[in-house]
Symmetry: C2
Subunit: 163 residues, 2 copies
């Protein structure tokens, strides 16, 4: 029951409580990567092309673990490797991500293919069911094709260097 949730609550509103965990730039992207791309390791996230810093990534993974959204287990064949995996609570975010996806696809010009968007809009239940099935069975083939360039040297995204 997520009992660990820290001391202070801003308010009792579920939306507010959800945003205490998820209200930042990265958490939902990590969940998305675990859910629909086949990502499982630290390296996978680093190279995801979004450009998250390694220390921030480490912090987020820690936090998501503490909140019970993901688990980490060392891989049997390679003790260096940690496999991250969504929990039931984590996979439960599928509808949120779906709606967020549909919203952005409608109101921003994204690179999302129309056919995919239309399919998602018409058959949301089936999509969620498929996501859960893949989660249960450990199927990690990407549901949505990863961005064509799994950026090997992700460009820095800074405002403007002062000097």
């Amino acid at each position: 029951m997520s009992g660990s949730a820290s001391a202070t609550r801003r308010s009792g509103c579920p939306v507010s409580i959800a945003l205490e965990t998820l209200g930042d730039r990265w958490s939902l992207l990590i969940v998305r990567d675990l859910m629909v791309r086949g990502y499982r390791t630290f390296k996978d996230f680093q190279l995801s092309g979004e450009g998250i810093a390694s220390n921030v990534l480490a912090g987020r993974l820690r936090k998501l673990q503490a909140e019970g959204l993901i688990t980490a287990a060392p891989e049997v064949s390679d003790a260096r490797r940690l496999n991250y995996r969504l929990t039931e609570k984590g996979i439960g975010l599928a509808p949120v991500l779906l709606e967020l996806y549909l919203w952005a696809a409608r109101h921003e010009n994204t690179g999302a293919p129309c056919a995919v968007v239309r399919a998602m809009r018409r058959h949301p239940r089936e999509l969620i069911a498929e996501v859960r099935r893949r989660w249960r069975t450990g199927d990690t083939t990407p549901l949505i094709p990863p961005p064509s360039n799994r950026n090997r040297n992700p460009r820095p995204l800074r405002k403007e260097r002062k000097g």
Copy 2:
């Protein structure tokens, strides 16, 4: 077409693009307050009990305007007052907020009344329709009762003073 969207895009994924605007602690809470509570003014948000700082609030309102999620219009009867209102793009976030609400209500122990949660879970379409109806007609009676204490002096929420 949200053309103003700034120069750099982290990735083409709609979820990532959505989080560029909404991926922080406050933006979605402001949208929620406009959507289901009757909030319209700067003061309303300040007293919402979540404890947002006034400078941060001003910044968020600016950003949400720039992104086309809200508009601001001076009230006719009182020129000091600015009325904020959701745009079509803003009201389009209703399903996202609904799913986020349901997720938190299921996986965290929130103060949400079970009957309300159950009703939301069983009749999501009707709820969204009602939210849109209220938005169209300018009906600002709170859809969900505001937290009993519209905190007059919101407590500071700091980690723990060092000393």
